[in-house]
């Protein structure tokens, strides 16, 4: 194959373009989109980790990758047994279940 351009320069130019775009990104806007897409809270801990230029639906687009830091915790007792987090009291759910069953049986 005949080389007609310097690949190093192309590669550097591409990287420069990505770097410039990185700086132009509204990171808070991205955070809101990702929070909506994934149905979770991301907070401030979000960083650009990489990016690329690609073709999507017949147009040139930029893909940016982000890294998000999460802090999650679980509870367990002295025996090491996992304690599920508090949510709806079980008896409330059970009451609904009994009521529903009762209606169905009498229907």
């Amino acid at each position: 194959m005949t080389k007609i351009a310097n690949p190093d320069i192309i590669s550097t130019a591409k990287q420069e373009l990505i770097d410039r775009i990185k700086q132009a990104i509204d990171i808070q806007g991205v955070r809101r989109i990702l929070e909506f897409q994934h149905n979770m809270e991301i907070g401030e801990n979000i960083e650009v980790s990489g990016g690329d230029v690609m073709v999507y639906n017949n147009q040139l687009v930029y893909r940016m990758d982000f890294e998000v830091l999460f802090s999650l915790s679980v509870l367990f007792d002295n025996e090491g047994n996992y304690i599920p987090s508090e949510d709806t009291p079980d008896e409330n759910i059970e009451e609904l279940g009994r009521e529903a069953e009762d209606i169905i049986q009498k229907m």
Binding site: I93, L96, A100
Partner: protein, 261 residues
């Protein structure tokens, strides 16, 4: 002759329209002549059934108030096996919604009797309210499919809905049957989801469909594209789950596995 499935829940946003549209798409995809009727004046199902974007020629309302025959409101939808009756938001006719319960509650079922022979399944998407149109939809349904989100408040409103259905069965529609309860928008990360599923299965047993619809971005996206998920991302978890639902529905109806009779 067609079996008419009413997709009902008085609670809003539980996945009625998503279920109606995707169930109808998969029933037709399995080779069944299927008719989807949008009984909700919000027109969400109409936006997803491929009836040309331009103003549909006729709306369900035109048939309900006797201007045309129901069969004349039928329009071709996505595939040759799928037809639809669209609805056009019509705010001049909101007085319809307030019509007394006893008033003409069989118009829809009378209309359907004329066209039932042409279909294997008719799917009704209904509004999240009690009114003239939803009463007509209940009266026209051979069986009811109830989507319920895997959440506490949704479970509580399922109990209210069952009471309402029992009331309707006692007064207006003695033949009413339940096809099943469908758990929707399941999110494995929420502990409450798992608890509700376990409890609902324990108490309502076989009434609950085996398949559980996961919370899936593909379902959300396909509605924003205005198409059933089958045509957008057929391999996504949401699509696969609605295909399984269609199989279960076909099986239950074929073997007359109904509840509340």
């Amino acid at each position: 002759m067609a079996h008419t499935i009413g997709i009902v829940n008085l609670k809003g946003g539980v996945g009625k329209t998503t279920t109606a549209v995707n169930l109808a798409a998969y029933l037709s995809d399995a080779g069944n002549r299927t008719l989807l009727i949008d009984c909700d004046p919000q027109g969400s199902a109409t936006a997803m059934i491929g009836v040309p974007k331009r103003k549909p020629a006729w709306s369900l309302f035109d048939a309900l108030d006797g201007r045309i025959r129901l069969k004349d409101a039928v329009a071709p939808a996505w595939t040759p096996m799928l037809d639809a009756i669209p609805v056009r938001p019509d705010f001049n006719r909101t007085e319809f919604e307030d019509a007394p319960e006893f008033f003409q509650k069989h118009i829809l079922s009378d209309g359907l009797n004329e066209i039932k022979d042409g279909y294997d399944y008719i799917v009704l998407d209904t509004p999240p309210s009690v009114g003239y149109i939803s009463i007509n939809a209940l009266a026209a349904s051979d069986s009811l499919l109830i989507p319920v989100q895997c959440e506490y408040l949704a479970y509580a409103s399922l109990v209210r809905l069952l009471k309402y259905i029992r009331h309707m069965k006692g007064t207006a529609h003695p033949g009413m049957k339940l096809l099943g309860v469908l758990l929707t928008m399941h999110d494995g990360l929420q502990p409450i989801s798992g608890k509700i599923i376990k409890n609902i299965r324990e108490h309502l047993k076989d009434l609950v469909f085996d398949v559980i619809i996961p919370r899936s971005i593909d379902l959300c996206e396909s509605s924003s594209y205005g198409i059933p998920v089958l045509f957008k991302s057929p391999d996504s978890p949401g699509a696969v789950s609605y295909k399984r639902l269609a199989d279960e529905v076909i099986g239950r109806i074929a073997t007359s596995r109904f509840y509340g009779i």
